[in-house]
């Protein structure tokens, strides 16, 4: 599972709105032991970027799925991590997360994400098949 995650470039993060509806967005991520980190890219003040932050602040439950699609369905797989999200505005853990993300995505070296970082402390791993 961890090897697949290391090579995966994108995951899809699901949260729940304060009204109780599901919300899902693609996102870049890095996994550090039992914590997932993800930055809010660009335009940090846009409504779209803030939605997932507001959701996590209201209800910390979050779920990230990382999967591989192929038209050869014998090659399909997914890994899902459920956990509790935190929004990190500043400080050492945010710096640490941005270093991990920059190691994985060189785009972040040139253009460090200006906004908060989302941390998800994993409480359950699921994998298929």
């Amino acid at each position: 599972m961890r090897k697949r995650l290391q090579h995966a470039r994108v995951g899809r993060l699901a949260t729940v709105t304060p009204q109780g509806a599901p919300h899902v967005v693609p996102c870049c991520f890095a996994v550090d032991d039992e914590t997932i980190y993800s930055a809010v890219d660009g335009k940090p003040k846009s409504t779209l970027a803030l939605r997932r932050l507001d959701n996590i602040r209201a209800l910390p439950q979050a779920s990230l799925v990382v999967d591989h699609y192929s038209d050869d369905w014998t090659e399909l797989w997914w890994v899902r991590m459920d956990g509790r999200g935190r929004v990190i505005e500043s400080g050492d853990e945010r710096d640490h997360a941005l270093r991990l993300l920059a190691e994985k995505y060189e785009q972040y070296i040139k253009d460090p994400p200006p906004g908060p970082v989302i941390a998800i402390d994993i409480t359950a791993w699921r994998a298929w098949p």
Copy 2:
């Protein structure tokens, strides 16, 4: 948006568990006007396959994101459809959905999904960028 959806092979479906937690899985899908159809592949009695059905039966809100990832971040895009899910066990609409899915995925011609079909009546479209 519709052209991108037509060519996309996989989406990620988010629902909410009866306990209020987000749940997200990759899935094949077909869009017919303002309704998304998705089948529960294989092992219809497995816990994993049933989870999303149980969620929709308890809380119909569902969200499907379809996106494109590239390491050239100028090429990123996503389309998200929020709506109300229904679980269709049998009947004309299920047959219609399975025809649409088989037109898109030839795997379904040889091996028609034996279980229920999920229909999501779209209430909101979002796209980025």
